[in-house]
């Protein structure tokens, strides 16, 4: 397993510094005891509306992708970025597959605990030139490009 971090659309292997992790439940029970924690683990059945804590105090939020079929954390990642304004690292943990990296990145994930090879991961990230819909990344949707082109013509 390696840690890949996203920077300007490319994935780079990153040094794995040990994270001081705490689960949302443990942190809620006893925040003092976990005052040193830098990474918050949020399970994928947690409603973010109920989290009600200062997310900005954590440099990393870890989301779970327990199996390729379980897509809840895609919504959680978008909400963290778009609704709760979280700007730290969002890390994908679990069954992180090459062919899902792009979707995760579009939803706001920018760090991946990944078992495959880095070149393959980067190839997968660049398989599509456009996207039809806006998401948590800064990719302009196709309809925006169409408008821009029409305006330029």
């Amino acid at each position: 397993m390696k840690l890949l971090k996203l920077s300007r659309g490319r994935l780079f292997p990153a040094l794995e510094e040990p994270l001081a992790e705490v689960s949302l439940e443990d942190w809620r029970d006893n925040p003092q005891e976990h005052a040193d924690a830098t990474a918050l683990k949020i399970s994928n059945d947690t409603s973010l509306a109920d989290v009600k804590c200062d997310l900005a105090g954590f440099s990393t939020i870890i989301l779970e992708f327990p199996a390729f079929k379980d897509g809840r954390a895609y919504s959680q990642a978008r909400l963290l970025r778009e609704r709760y304004g979280y700007t730290g690292e969002i890390r994908a943990r679990g069954d992180v597959l090459r062919d899902q990296l792009l979707f995760m990145a579009r939803c706001g994930v920018d760090a991946f605990e990944f078992t495959g090879d880095v070149d393959g991961a980067n190839a997968a990230m660049s398989e599509f030139s456009f996207a039809y819909q806006p998401a948590a990344d800064d990719l302009a949707p196709v309809w925006r490009k169409r408008l821009d082109r029409a305006a330029a013509a």
Binding site: S47, G71, Y74, E127, S129
Partner: protein, 551 residues
């Protein structure tokens, strides 16, 4: 019709390259079948009983003659010379070799077609009224909205791993030919009391092992908010839908567990947060897409065609085909033509390569280049001049495509069943064939009137048996095929779920059973009542009695 611009074309081409790479990794052994499965399932490729099956998307059932011709060529080049139109207006090929599939997809991409999101737990091909843009019944053409949804849902990064598959249907006519009340989301375009056109949003309908008729969660949604509202529904579903049991994972289960009011509140609360956040298309883009569906250049014609009336008077079979297979067009002098893919004793929905090419030629010559697939597994030529109807009929007859039986007892929906499908418990196709043969007499069929028989080979209900006037469900009883009969279902605007008539019947008994049911109807019907109306008026008892008396 919508045409790809460079963005659409690039995305489809890139999808084919991506899939080609995935197939190469599989064939090289870099991916196990288990690892490959989720990837191929994102692209409509199923492993069935005997071979791979590829499901090709026909977005909202609309095809050009060029596309139809290519579908025929593909059937010949990569398959065994036929294809199968499905209840989602798509086409399936039953015998492609895995190694050929990327080339097959390239051939489709050439004519702006693909297999994207025809399987997997994602938003599937949006379906609609096969008469869209041709019928006077609609308040507006629903196809532009289907296309907007197609684009928005394609490779949606958040909604590609939903709890379960997700199906959306749109109608814009009072008479619902898109079965919107039995979809995950059904959208009905209509004009409200203020004269504005918008969507009624219906959620949580569906068939399968837990059938439900959908509920309206919003009476009126302005058109410009279509995509943000859908995004709100999908987000609530993605986060809250059950994932512990695949049989309880569809949105209908969530809607019914929460209660419709609570569910509607959840959606509205989510929507309030995102409705003006840039998800919806700007007016210019809606207009750009709308423009592709502007009415074609219809000629100014008298509504009556003398040539047609002469032939109608002199050719009895043609007159019957006119009565049964054509319907009114919004433009004077034009008609909508249905092509039945249910010849007596045939496989519902199957069509040969040569027939597909014949349909393409006819559409090119006589239907302004357009063909539609219907969810009842037939085809439609939407824009035929009445003056040309006899020529169309003659050409269809030469291609063995002039069966006159639309809506009648032999116009049966059937899933592929145990002849192909690895999920099936029983065969569907032979039952459809035998019922069709039993009722072969076309005079008798016409005299019976509208009667919708729908057959599924297992509880997943791909043959829509729950909404058949007569539904037939194949079940496995200790290794033997049995069939359960349901009565009184409808997938139209008067949607209802059929009720189980009683114990299962053997495959020998089931055809007799249909005949007995029809006998009860014949005996009791009043005036022009359909089978369904008689059933609803009398209730199940007389039908059950006939089915199980001394049996």
């Amino acid at each position: 019709m919508y045409r790809y611009d460079e963005f659409d074309a690039t995305l489809v081409a890139e999808r084919v390259s991506q899939f080609r790479g995935q197939v190469e990794r599989r064939l090289a052994g870099d991916l196990t079948e288990d690892q490959f499965k989720p990837l191929r399932l994102m692209n409509g490729l199923y492993l069935q009983l005997h071979a791979y099956m590829l499901r090709v998307a026909v977005p909202y059932g609309a095809m050009s003659s060029k596309q139809m011709r290519r579908l025929g060529e593909v059937a010949r080049k990569y398959d065994r010379g036929y294809g199968h139109f499905t209840t989602r207006q798509n086409i399936q090929y039953n015998w492609p070799a895995l190694v050929d599939v990327p080339d097959l997809l390239d051939d489709l991409a050439d004519v702006e077609m693909h297999a994207i999101q025809t399987s997997g737990n994602c938003i599937r091909n949006v379906t609609s009224d096969q008469y869209a843009g041709a019928t006077a019944e609609e308040v507006e053409d629903p196809r532009p909205y289907c296309e907007m949804i197609r684009q928005w849902s394609t490779f949606h990064p958040e909604f590609s791993f939903l709890p379960r598959k997700f199906k959306i249907a749109i109608t814009a006519a009072e008479h619902d030919r898109a079965a919107v009340k039995v979809h995950d989301i059904g959208l009905r375009l209509y004009k409200n009391d203020e004269g504005e056109i918008g969507f009624e949003v219906i959620v949580g309908g569906g068939l399968g092992r837990t059938p439900y008729v959908g509920h309206t969660i919003r009476k009126f949604l302005p058109k410009k908010y279509l995509l943000s509202y859908l995004e709100a529904i999908l987000r609530v579903y993605n986060l809250e839908g059950r994932r512990d049991n695949m049989y309880k994972a569809r949105i209908k289960i969530l809607v019914n567990a929460e209660g419709i009011e609570k569910f509607a509140e959840m959606v509205e609360a989510e929507w309030a947060q995102i409705k003006d956040s840039g998800i919806d298309l700007p007016r210019e883009e809606m207009e750009r897409i709308n423009a592709y569906f502007a009415p074609p250049a219809f000629e100014k014609l008298p509504d009556q065609s003398e040539a047609l009336e002469e032939k109608r008077a002199s050719d009895k079979d043609f007159a019957r085909w006119l009565r049964l297979n054509t319907v009114g067009h919004k433009t004077p002098g034009y008609a909508i033509v249905n092509i039945s893919l249910k010849p007596i004793g045939g496989v519902p929905g199957d069509i040969s390569d040569v027939q597909m090419e014949a349909v393409a030629d006819i559409a090119q010559a006589y239907s302004l280049d357009e063909v539609r697939a219907t969810h009842e597994q037939n085809l439609v030529l939407p824009h035929v001049k009445k003056d040309d109807l006899y020529a169309v009929y003659s050409d269809l007859e030469k291609a063995d495509l002039a069966t006159a039986n639309i809506g009648l007892v032999s116009d049966i929906i059937a899933c592929p069943g145990l002849d192909y499908c690895s999920l099936a418990n029983a065969r569907s196709i032979p039952i459809a064939q035998r019922i069709s043969e039993r009722f072969a007499d076309i005079d008798a069929q016409e005299e019976l009137g509208e009667l919708k028989i729908k057959i599924s080979g297992c509880i997943n209900a791909c043959g829509h048996h729950h909404v058949g006037h007569i539904g037939i469900l194949g079940v496995d009883k200790k290794g033997e095929e049995f069939y359960q009969v349901t009565l009184g279902g409808s997938g139209a605007e008067d949607a209802s779920l059929g009720e189980i008539a009683g114990r299962g019947l053997s495959s020998e008994q089931v055809v007799d059973a249909v005949e007995k049911l029809v006998g009860v109807y014949r005996e009791h019907r009043q005036d022009k009542e359909r089978f369904l109306d008689t059933y609803r008026r009398l209730g199940a008892e007389p039908f059950k009695e006939a089915l199980y008396e001394a049996a």
